[in-house]
Amino acid sequence: MDRGKVVSNALHAQQLGKRYGAHWALRNCNIQLPRGCIAGLVGNNGAGKTTLLHLAAGLLRPSTGSIEMLGTPSHNMAMLLPHIGFVAQECSLYRQFTVSETLIAGRKLNPAWDESLARSLVDRFKLPLKQTIGKLSGGQQALVAIIMALAKDPELLLLDEPFSNIDPLAKHEIGKVIMELAFERSLTILISSHVLADLEALCDYLIILAASQVRLADSIEHIMEQHKLLIGPSESFDAIATAYPVIQASHTGRQSTVLLRTDEAVSHPAWEQQDLALETVVLAYLATQESSWEAHASSILPSFQKEVFS
């Protein structure tokens, strides 16, 4: 394989899987994240997002396949550690440390520690230096954890649900800080959330996980080019369904709504192409998986999400 190409990936997973007993937390995972991209990892709770991030951070060993970060296998943590910033969902700070002591620990533990960045972010968010971590609000704790990861000056930043438990204002502020640094330092970022709305503006790449498998991993630009939402008469649905791959379809009376995935331009006189939102695509992928996985799920989904497989 072309070596240059391998190294240009910030993350490269091949047939990656993680099994706990009989349960696969993640399987058949193939992803190549280009350097410099900001990737969103979406999926329902329990879909395997945290497992993937822990594998990427070297906290878990793969059961199958491999995962390379910045061209180095993730189990080679000694080499990778200084280059990866990881913020776990349950932010892993010492609760008895003050903010100030936490920063000192960061400085002593990380060779490339950026003290001025850490200080400026602590000032910006008005974090109380003398307060212990345990007494900070959930949002403030998340901020400290993110500041610690950023001040390591990593090449790759892994954020597991950074926006849960924090108020909308802090969410927005964190988003701004991360985007600023992404711009200034060409960081690669992988950030998970079960709320697409939190990610859409931040990301240019998207990974959709459902039931422990990657359903889609692509640049958002290509996802939006490739997927087409059409409305037309049910009688000619078969003609469309045989010509193009159908991701999701719903039928109400004489009318059908269909989501296609094709690079070709779709033109059929009776079918009208609709404006498509990224959320529609994501929901379709999450829903298709669920109904084949858990049959009763389809009965509680809105009508558009009840799919008919062609």
Partner: protein, 134 residues
């Protein structure tokens, strides 16, 4: 200078929101030829948006000939979209539109119904359906 904002859950892609906001400002005369658009850095640190998305929006505007990027200096407005038609005619149209909107509100339509009706009618017209003037 224009200040961007982002609406979540509108279904409109973030880059398209930026494009539309610039065009809207050009139409309303809030942006004029020679005006500078905010730098990517400024937009990113104001509205928490992916830098590539801002680049993409600016590229799109440049492609349409509305702005010009001058390396090392920034992105500048090149063309206005302000309607150059007769101001009296514009005022007359606005007056008619107001009356129509008033009728629509009277009939119990909400803003969203009106927007949908307007967009649908406009689409029909653009597809070449003859306007039925009765």
């Amino acid at each position: 200078m224009i200040e961007f904002h982002l609406e979540k859950r509108t279904g409109v892609a973030p880059y398209m929101q930026l494009v539309q906001q610039v065009k809207q400002a050009l139409r309303l005369g809030l942006l004029k030829p020679g005006d500078q658009l905010p730098t990517v850095r400024e937009v990113v640190s104001k509205i928490a948006i992916n830098p590539n998305t801002v680049f993409k929006a600016y590229r799109e505007l440049e492609h349409e000939g509305l702005v010009e990027s001058r390396p090392g200096l920034g992105t500048f407005v090149q063309k206005s979209l302000a309607n150059s038609s007769d101001p009296d005619l514009q005022e007359a149209l606005r007056h008619e539109l107001r009356r129509w909107l008033y009728k629509a509100f009277e009939a119990g339509l909400e803003s969203e119904d009106i927007t949908a009706l307007f967009a649908d009618t406009l689409r029909q017209l653009q597809k070449g359906d003859k306007p039925s003037l009765t």
